[in-house]
C-alpha cells in the first residue's frame, strides 16, 4: 500500500491539480467553451455521446488491430526472408528503408483515391507505418545471435533450418517485441490519420466532424478514447511479451 502511494501518488496529485486548474479556468469563463471545454464537460460528452463514440471507437480499434496484424505478418515474414537470403537482403533492404522515407501523409490521399472511403486505405496506412519498426527490429534480432552459439549448434549437428528454428528465431523474439511495441503505439496515429483523409466512421471521423461543428467537448472525448486505446494496446503487447519471452526480463546470473 505504501508502495502504491509512493509510486502513484505524485503523478495522480499533479494530474488532479492540472484538472482542477483547467476546470476553474473554464468555469470562470477565462477561455471560451468551444475552445477549451471543462474536464466535466468532456466527461459529460463521453457519457452522453457514448453510443456514437463507442461505435466509432470500435471501427478504429478494428482498423488498428487488422492493420497491425498485417504489418506484423508482413514485417516478420520479410525480416526472415531478408535474413535467410543475403541476396534478397542486398536487393530489398534499401527499398524497405525507402518505404519509410516516403511520407505517409503523401500516400494516404492517393490510397483513398484508389480504394475509396472504406477500411482498405486505413489498413494500408497503418500497415505501412507499423511495418518498418517490426521489420528492422526483427532483422536486427536475427542477426544479433551469438556467433559462438551458432558454432556450438553446428558442432552438435545442427543444419541451417535447426539453427534458425532453435536459435535465431527465439533469440530474435525480444527484438520483435520491441518493434511491435513501437508499432502498436503509432498504429493508432495511423488509423486517425487515415480517417481524417477520408472516411465515414471512426474516431478520426468524429474528430473531423466535431471540429467543423465546434463540438469541442466531443472532440476531446474522442482524443481521450484514442489515448486510452493506444495505452491499452501497448500494455497488451507488453503483457504478451512478458509471457512469451520471460528470459529477456530480469535476467540475472547467480555466481
Amino acid at each position: 500500500m505504501r508502495r502504491v502511494i509512493h509510486d502513484w501518488g505524485p503523478p495522480l496529485a499533479l494530474l488532479a491539480l492540472v484538472l482542477a486548474a483547467w476546470e476553474a479556468a473554464a468555469r470562470l469563463g477565462w477561455v471560451e467553451d468551444y475552445l477549451l471545454p471543462a474536464p466535466t464537460e468532456v466527461a459529460r460528452a463521453l457519457v452522453e455521446d457514448r453510443d456514437v463514440l463507442f461505435a466509432d471507437a470500435w471501427v478504429t480499434a478494428q482498423e488498428v488491430l487488422l492493420g497491425f496484424g498485417l504489418a506484423l505478418a508482413a514485417g516478420v515474414g520479410v525480416a526472415v526472408l531478408l535474413h535467410l537470403s543475403p541476396m534478397l537482403r542486398r536487393a530489398l533492404y534499401p527499398i524497405v528503408v525507402a518505404s519509410q522515407a516516403v511520407p505517409v501523409i503523401v500516400i494516404a490521399p492517393i490510397l483513398v483515391i484508389w480504394f475509396g472511403f472504406g477500411m482498405g486505405p486505413k489498413l494500408m496506412v497503418i500497415a505501412l507505418i507499423c511495418f518498418f519498426p517490426i521489420t528492422v527490429n526483427t532483422l536486427d534480432g536475427l542477426r544479433a545471435v551469438d556467433r559462438d552459439q551458432i558454432r556450438m549448434l553446428r558442432t552438435l549437428g545442427a543444419g541451417r533450418w535447426d539453427t534458425f528454428r532453435r536459435l535465431e528465431l527465439p533469440s530474435a523474439l525480444p527484438y520483435l517485441f520491441s518493434g511491435a511495441k513501437i508499432a502498436v503505439a503509432v498504429a493508432v496515429i495511423g488509423a486517425v490519420f487515415g480517417e481524417l483523409v477520408g472516411s465515414d466512421a471512426g474516431l478520426g471521423h468524429v474528430i473531423q466532424v466535431g471540429t467543423a461543428q465546434l463540438l469541442t467537448a466531443r472532440v476531446f472525448a474522442a482524443v481521450l478514447l484514442l489515448a486510452a486505446m493506444a495505452i491499452a494496446l501497448f500494455a497488451l503487447v507488453a503483457a504478451i511479451e512478458r509471457r512469451a519471452v520471460p528470459w529477456a526480463h530480469g535476467e540475472r546470473t547467480r555466481g
Binding site: D148, M152, T155, L156, G157, D162, W247, E251, R254
Partner: protein, 258 residues
C-alpha cells in the same frame, strides 16, 4: 554432487588404436601485420579411451587446435584424423536462456533427429546419474556457474560422439568450484567413458584429470614435453594434488613451459 569414487582401468594405452591422430598440423591466420602462426607442425595421438591433456600458456593455439580437430577451422598444413565423430565443449556454457537445464541438454539428441520426448528421457536419465536432477527444471539464469558447466557437459555427452574435445571447460569458475567440478568430471567420465582431449592453462587440472599431458610452448604452439601422471585416482583430490609425485610432475610441466 557425490558420485562413486572413480576407478580407472589399467593404463595400457599403448596397444590401443588412436582415436585422434594429429600429424604435422600447422595453422596460420591472416593478420593485419602479416600472417600469425598459431600452430607449428604439432603432432600427437590420443588413444581410444584415453584422457589426453594439452597444457599451455594463453595464446599458444590450444583452442585453435581443438577447433581444427572439430572441423570448425581448416588446417593450413598437416592432417587430422578422428575415428568416429567428435564433439567440442567450448569454454562458455552457451546454454540457451529460454530452455530449462534439462531441455538444454536434450538439445543435443534433438539436433540429431530424436523427438522431444525421447531426447528429454535421455537427458533425464543422465541428470539422474550425475546427481543434478534437482536442477532439471531451472532456467540457466537461475543456475550457478558450476551447475551451468555440468549442464553443458551433459549436453556434450548426449551428442553421442566417441571423442570429447573440452576447451577450458572450467576456466570461468572460481578455484573452489573448479576443484569440485574436476572431481565430478572424473567420476562422470568413468560412468560415460569417452576419448577425451582436454585443453587447459591449468597444469594442476590437466595432471589431475588426464592419463597423459602434453605441454605446449608459446606461439607458435609446439609440443614441449610429455608427462604421464601415475597417480592414484581412487584417492580424494586433496590427497592427489598434494602428493610428492604430483609436485614432481608439476615442476616438470613448469620447466617445460618456461
Amino acid at each position: 554432487m557425490p558420485l562413486k569414487a572413480p576407478e580407472r582401468e589399467s593404463r595400457a594405452t599403448i596397444s590401443r588404436p588412436a582415436a585422434v591422430a594429429v600429424r604435422a598440423l600447422s595453422k596460420t591466420f591472416p593478420g593485419r601485420d602479416g600472417a600469425v602462426e598459431a600452430l607449428d607442425r604439432v603432432s600427437f595421438e590420443a588413444k581410444a579411451g584415453e584422457a589426453l591433456g594439452l597444457v599451455g600458456p594463453s595464446g599458444c593455439g590450444k583452442s585453435t587446435l581443438l577447433e581444427v580437430i572439430a572441423g570448425l577451422e581448416p588446417a593450413t598444413g598437416g592432417e587430422v584424423t578422428v575415428r568416429g565423430k567428435c564433439v567440442l565443449m567450448p569454454q562458455r556454457d552457451l546454454l540457451l536462456p529460454w530452455r530449462t537445464a534439462l531441455d538444454n541438454a536434450a538439445l543435443a539428441p534433438q539436433l540429431q533427429g530424436a523427438s522431444r520426448t525421447a531426447a528429454r528421457r535421455r537427458a533425464n536419465a543422465l541428470f539422474e546419474r550425475f546427481g543434478i536432477a534437482d536442477f532439471a527444471r531451472a532456467r540457466p539464469s537461475e543456475l550457478s556457474g558450476g551447475m551451468r558447466q555440468r549442464v553443458a557437459f551433459a549436453r556434450t555427452l548426449l551428442a553421442d560422439r566417441p571423442v570429447l574435445l573440452l576447451d577450458e571447460p572450467f576456466a570461468s569458475l572460481d578455484s573452489i568450484t573448479r576443484a569440485e567440478l574436476q572431481e565430478w568430471l572424473l567420476a562422470a567420465l568413468v560412468q560415460e567413458p569417452r576419448t577425451t582431449v582436454l585443453v587447459t592453462h591449468d597444469i594442476e587440472e590437466a595432471l589431475f584429470l588426464c592419463d597423459r599431458v602434453l605441454v605446449m610452448s608459446r606461439r607458435p604452439g609446439t609440443i614441449a614435453a610429455e608427462l604421464e601422471p601415475a597417480l592414484d585416482r581412487t584417492a580424494p583430490r586433496t590427497e592427489v594434488v598434494t602428493s610428492a609425485e604430483f609436485s614432481r610432475l608439476r615442476l616438470r610441466a613448469l620447466e617445460a613451459l618456461a
